[in-house]
């Protein structure tokens, strides 16, 4: 067997260690660098506060220049956390800080141990290479004409010649010293050949070229292939068997094992990070839901209680126990003895992802009623409110420090206060009565309320339009999207003044040319860039929810009683200038309201002061439409639900109508546009700016007409109140 082999083996361990060393170094060096880098720069022990700020895009260490800009933002966030923490139960607070600490300090000990082992291996291999004299011998044997002749690399031709002469005299076969045996004679001869070859390599053109090209004066050499393993491992019966077994174990055992383990783990959870069993269960439930059946948040919670995730977290609890945990949570019932607070913390925190997934499934099945029930479930869980139990007034339970609402006499006029908007219009003492706060706690409650109004935004839709990229009308079959202009104000702002605010902001934006930046090329190419450029929203004030939740708005598009597309979650809206700006406090909301009321009564054109809102900013929400505009010209509309996923009483519903123009109308619009452009072109030469203002006025008229016709705002609040 040994003879039949045409391969060379690495008998002297000349190649194999290098091979091993290379592989080890390829893995170890970058890994070590990464770990060292992390240890040096990223392993600061981050405080709870800092890590929380980091979640909202503020890093105190890295952007020091921005700090002045962010200072107000940081203050608001800190206030928010302070308020939330003061209302949170001690257990949940403890678990949350543990949870955040765990996320931030990833344990490196395991990595360091593995790295140490790898470096030890490298050291051993390096040492064995150093000790292996064979490697150095073969290195010496390599052809180096300068070394053979004993000259330096920079020697001149003269020096080469003289060195060659000296050596050739010494080793010339004709001039061998007497009394040498055969072996010595042979070595002398070999040396002479080497010397003459070396000389030729440095002087003869052909040989020199051979040397430079192939590293050998004789020209190209036969390539030798070999196996970088010692021969005994392969040719010897026992070791070769061992080798085969090892190979088999690796390729048929170890690799398939890890791959299958990875595969089964990854196929256990779907793309939304929900266990496949749970996803099957939810899809099956939604699929089997009979059309028109009554669904509310209790139904959704019942479904969720069967989720596989909970069986993994707490195998000892059955679905009824889980359901009980849910119900106790939303009913704000005191602790039960049987289930630990830590488990409750985990169970309630886990619902976030599951409810969101259920909403996606429901919207895929176009189920509007179920979708709304699911959104309500999100709110119920976040605020620990059971809308069934606390009929009508449940919104007020979200106020900081309000655990339970007092029973007011039916005759009491305060009994009609049902939602947050009404609540914030009351006088301080009335607020106390409605919320059931004792007089001695008044001071605390009022400061909490003040923080609350600065940290909880309220979304108001100012303007809405169906748009086509690059043209100001909707042509048949065009790809359309909806653009909502929204304003985030404090929760205590009145929502009935949207029209006035809209006019104010339009005037302000025109005055300051604020919209010009949206005409840049990247905005024209990507309609949704506007939205993504906006600030990340601040976290949700929900002290009852175990972990800090992001404030998100969900956009549901509805047509003919059906959800048209999967929900869009919006988390980017400008808030900091509005909630923390200097004008926020100064702005007299009551005065503003009175002013508007008076002006409306007198039927005067509105006279508003743009300076009132100078520090504030509007935001945009752009929603891609599932289908292109209809082919037939006419009027159409979308209904858009804009719901806060974490709190009640902050939802909007808009009916966005649009007109698909016919061929003739399009022609007309194009003609008008061309005329306008022509006029604008003339104006550049014309010093008088009369016609420009005219055309702008026209545009404005068109816009206001449209918005007047189309906008029929109605709050979703009123709907729920009827129930």
């Amino acid at each position: 067997m040994a003879d039949s082999s045409s391969y060379q083996y690495d008998e002297n361990s000349e190649t194999f260690p290098f091979f091993l060393l290379t592989i080890l170094l390829i893995v170890t060096v970058p890994w070590t660098l990464k770990v060292v880098y992390d240890l040096l720069f990223n392993n600061r022990v981050i405080s709870l506060k800092e890590s929380r700020l980091k979640l909202y895009g503020i890093d105190k260490e890295t952007d020091k220049e921005n700090q002045s800009n962010d200072l107000k933002k940081i203050k608001t966030l800190e206030k928010l956390y302070e308020l939330q923490d003061s209302k949170k139960t001690d257990e949940f607070k403890k678990f949350e800080s543990e949870f955040i600490a765990k996320q931030n300090t990833k344990s490196k000990t395991k990595q360091i141990i593995i790295l140490t082992i790898l470096w030890t291996f490298i050291a051993i291999i390096y040492k064995s290479i150093n000790n292996n004299s064979k490697i150095f011998e073969s290195g010496i044997a390599a052809f180096d004409p300068y070394e053979i002749l004993g000259i330096s690399f920079s020697s001149t031709e003269k020096e080469i010649k003289s060195a060659y002469r000296k050596l050739s005299v010494k080793f010339h076969p004709d001039k061998l010293p007497a009394g040498l045996n055969e072996a010595e004679k042979l070595s002398f001869e070999e040396n002479f050949i080497r010397i003459s070859k070396a000389y030729q390599a440095l002087t003869d053109e052909v040989v020199k070229e051979n040397y430079l090209k192939y590293g050998n004066p004789d020209g190209p050499q036969q390539l030798s292939q070999g196996i970088a393993l010692p021969k005994f491992l392969i040719d010897n019966g026992f070791y070769s068997l061992l080798m085969i077994v090892a190979y088999m174990a690796i390729f048929m055992g170890v690799i398939p094992y890890f791959v299958s383990k990875w595969w089964s783990k990854s196929s256990q959870f779907n793309k939304q990070n929900v266990h496949v069993n749970t996803s099957s269960l939810i899809i099956e439930k939604v699929f089997n839901l009979k059309k028109g059946s009554v669904i509310d948040h209790i139904t959704v919670l019942e479904w969720l209680s069967h989720a596989e995730e909970f069986k993994i977290i707490c195998p000892e609890l059955n679905s009824e126990d889980i359901f009980e945990v849910f119900m106790n949570h939303i009913n704000r019932q005191p602790k039960q003895n049987s289930i630990s607070e830590e488990l409750k913390f985990k169970i309630i925190a886990k619902t976030h992802n599951l409810v969101k997934f259920t909403l996606v499934v429901a919207s895929c099945f176009n189920h509007l009623e179920l979708s709304i029930a699911i959104i309500n479930t999100m709110k119920s869980l976040a605020q620990a409110i059971n809308t069934n139990a606390d009929k009508i007034k449940y919104e007020l339970l979200q106020l900081p420090g309000v655990e339970k609402l007092p029973e007011l006499d039916l005759s009491n006029s305060l009994n009609s206060i049902k939602n947050l908007e009404q609540f914030f219009m009351l006088e301080d003492d009335q607020k106390l009565k409605v919320a059931g706060i004792e007089q001695e706690d008044k001071k605390q409650f009022m400061t909490d309320l003040k923080t609350y109004t600065h940290t909880v935004p309220k979304l108001q839709v100012l303007q809405h339009k169906v748009k086509v990229q690059g043209q100001d009308y909707v042509s048949p079959g065009a790809i359309i999207h909806i653009e909502l202009k929204v304003l985030l104000t404090g929760i205590n702002w009145v929502s009935s003044q949207k029209n006035q605010f809209n006019q104010l902001f339009n005037a302000k934006e025109k005055l300051n040319n604020e919209l010009e930046k949206y005409e840049a090329i990247e905005h024209l190419l990507d309609t949704h860039k506007k939205m993504t450029e906006q600030e990340t929203l601040l976290p949700l004030v929900a002290p009852k929810f175990p972990v800090t939740k992001d404030l998100e708005y969900v956009v549901l598009m509805v047509g003919q009683g059906k959800v048209l597309q999967t929900p869009i979650f919006v988390n980017n809206l400008n808030w900091s200038d509005n909630l923390t700006g200097s004008n926020y406090e100064k702005f007299d909301k009551k005065n503003f309201k009175q002013l508007i009321d008076e002006q409306l009564k007198l039927n005067k054109p509105l006279q508003l002061n743009v300076d009132d809102i100078s520090g504030m900013k509007t935001s945009y929400i752009t929603i891609p439409c599932p289908t292109p505009a209809p082919e037939k010209p006419g009027s159409y509309s979308f209904k858009v639900y804009l719901d806060n996923t974490g709190m009640f009483g902050n939802d909007e519903f808009v009916n966005v109508s649009y007109r698909v123009l016919s061929e003739e109308e399009i022609q007309n619009v194009e003609n008008i546009n061309v005329q306008k452009r022509r006029l604008a072109g003339e104006i550049e030469e014309d010093p008088e700016l009369s016609s420009d203002s005219e055309s702008e006025e026209e545009e404005e008229d068109e816009k206001t007409d449209e918005s007047d016709n189309n906008s029929e705002y109605s709050d979703i609040n009123t709907d729920t109140d009827d129930e």
């Binding site: 003879d3 039949s4 082999s5 045409s6 391969y7 060379q8 002297n12 000349e14 064979k134 073969s138 044997a141 390599a142 052809f143 590293g215 050998n216 050499q221 036969q222 030798s224 196929s267 779907n270 793309k271 939304q272 929900v274 496949v276 069993n277 996803s279 099957s280 899809i283 099956e284 699929f287 089997n288 009979k290 059309k291 028109g292 059946s293 009554v294 509310d296 997934f357 996606v360 499934v361 895929c364 099945f365 176009n366 999967t566 129930e723």
Partner: protein
């Protein structure tokens, strides 16, 4: 190990191996046996996998909540009839026919529901929200209702001795729609109660 010596060694070994090459006679049956063994093992594996798959698919329930309950009702009635055919409590032919119509109606309901939700399932599958297993279950459902429908028609032919499957289908469809209307009505009442509560 210098350059020279390497090439020498290589040359030497090569010449050795070329000298040793010799022709060995192999029986014609060797490849035949080899191929047949391979084929047999592949067929066996395929059969084994199919059997396992079949066993699994029998075990997994339908994605419909009531899991072909009307079929079970029908067979329960039918079997009890045959058992007591010589006894006094003979089951009315109309009863068994109505059970069959109910069964047919539910098959039609399944069919409508499956075709209605086809797009939804595709979207969910593409979103990566659905596990492979569930999607397979869903696709299996189409075959199941086809089989169920054939079985219904066969039973109908046996019961009424008529081969007019079209008429049976029409009756079932009407029954299905009537059931749907009834259910809707009940839900509206329930909703009203829910609101009044």
């Amino acid at each position: 190990m210098s350059f020279n010596s390497t090439s020498d060694g290589f040359n030497g070994t090569e010449s050795n191996s070329s000298q040793q090459a010799s022709i060995k006679k192999i029986s014609i049956f060797t490849p035949i046996i080899y191929v047949s063994l391979l084929l047999y093992s592949l067929i066996y594996l395929q059969k084994y996998v199919a059997k396992k798959k079949h066993a699994k698919s029998i075990e997994t329930p339908s994605i419909f909540e009531d899991n072909y309950k009307s079929r079970e009702i029908y067979y329960a009635i039918k079997e009890s009839k045959f058992e007591t055919s010589n006894g006094s409590n003979k089951i009315d032919d109309n009863l068994i026919l109505s059970a069959l119509i109910h069964r047919g109606a539910s098959v039609i309901r399944y069919k409508i529901k499956l075709t209605e939700t086809k797009q939804t399932f595709d979207i969910l599958y593409k979103l990566g929200s659905m596990g492979e297993d569930f999607f397979e279950r869903y696709e299996r459902e189409f075959n199941l209702i086809e089989l169920e429908l054939q079985d219904c028609i066969k039973e109908y032919a046996m019961l009424t001795k008529s081969t007019n499957a079209q008429k049976y289908m029409e009756i079932c469809q009407n029954a299905c729609f009537n059931e749907a209307i009834k259910r809707r009505f009940a839900f509206y009442e329930a909703k009203l109660d829910h609101k009044l509560k």
